[in-house]
């Protein structure tokens, strides 16, 4: 079985400050890793994913996440946040042998303040 833990339910940060949203997972099998974002009144959108290869993956809007197998982590970072980054962020895993089922963490609300 797999589980995902997002330790921070809310992360307040000032605009242009760096941010890290933490994600740890537990799994007895190989998994793929994902970050989804949910803006207010919208559905979940894929932000970035790790399938294989380089352990550092990037999104088009400046977020990056690094897969750390030894620490079973997939933390999300951004060096300088914008007001528009205010949203809920979900970390998720999916077994590599599966049909696409995602196992989500509890979510972290990123609140960017001016």
């Amino acid at each position: 079985a797999q589980s995902v833990t997002q330790l921070d339910s809310q992360v307040p940060v000032f605009e242009e400050a760096p941010v890290e949203l933490r994600c740890n997972y537990s799994s007895s099998v190989s998994v793929y890793l994902f970050w989804y974002v949910q803006y207010p009144n919208q559905g979940l959108q894929l932000l970035l994913k790790y399938l294989s290869g380089s352990t550092l993956v990037e999104s088009i809007n400046g977020f990056e996440a690094e897969f750390n197998k030894s620490q079973t982590s997939f933390h999300l970072r951004k060096p300088s946040v914008h007001i528009s980054d205010t949203a809920e962020y979900f970390c998720a895993v999916s077994p590599t042998s599966n049909t696409g089922k995602l196992i989500f963490g509890q979510g972290t609300t990123l609140q960017v303040k001016p």
């Binding site: 995902v4 793929y32 989804y36 009144n41 919208q42 559905g43 979940l44 959108q45 894929l46 994913k49 399938l51 979900f90 998720a92 999916s94 077994p95 590599t96 042998s97 599966n98 049909t99 696409g100 089922k101 995602l102 196992i103 989500f104 963490g105 509890q106 979510g107």
Partner: protein, 115 residues
């Protein structure tokens, strides 16, 4: 840009009533999913559906739940006799292929309130 559409956005129903949540997946997608999120808790997988049958379901997806693709465009989740604990946000998702890693596109969700 193609998107997954869910209706209604908010549904209020009395305990014991049947409810149907509707989803229109992206047209060329083949795999369909339902997830739910109880307020303050994790987004939980309910069921995946491919080729007109359930490919995987969670322990939550008991006999009171059913899914159907009644025509070429809709994908529905039916709850036969709603309970208070069914109150949650329900998300529909679809993907082109079920191979993990293929992006799943999510709808905006239906907030179900059972009173």
């Amino acid at each position: 840009e193609p998107e997954v559409t869910q209706t209604p956005s908010h549904q209020v129903t009395q305990m014991g009533q049947e409810v149907i949540l509707r989803c229109v997946p992206i047209s060329n997608h083949l795999y369909f999913y339902w997830y739910r999120q109880i307020l303050g808790q994790k987004v939980e997988f309910l069921v995946s559906f491919y080729n007109n049958e359930i490919s995987e379901k969670s322990e939550i997806f008991d006999d009171q739940f059913s899914v159907e693709r009644p025509d070429g465009s809709n994908f529905t989740l039916k709850i036969r006799s709603t309970k208070l604990e069914d109150s949650a946000m329900y998300f529909c998702a679809s993907s082109q292929a079920g191979r993990t890693g293929t992006e799943a596109f999510f709808g905006q969700g239906t907030r179900l309130t059972v009173v």
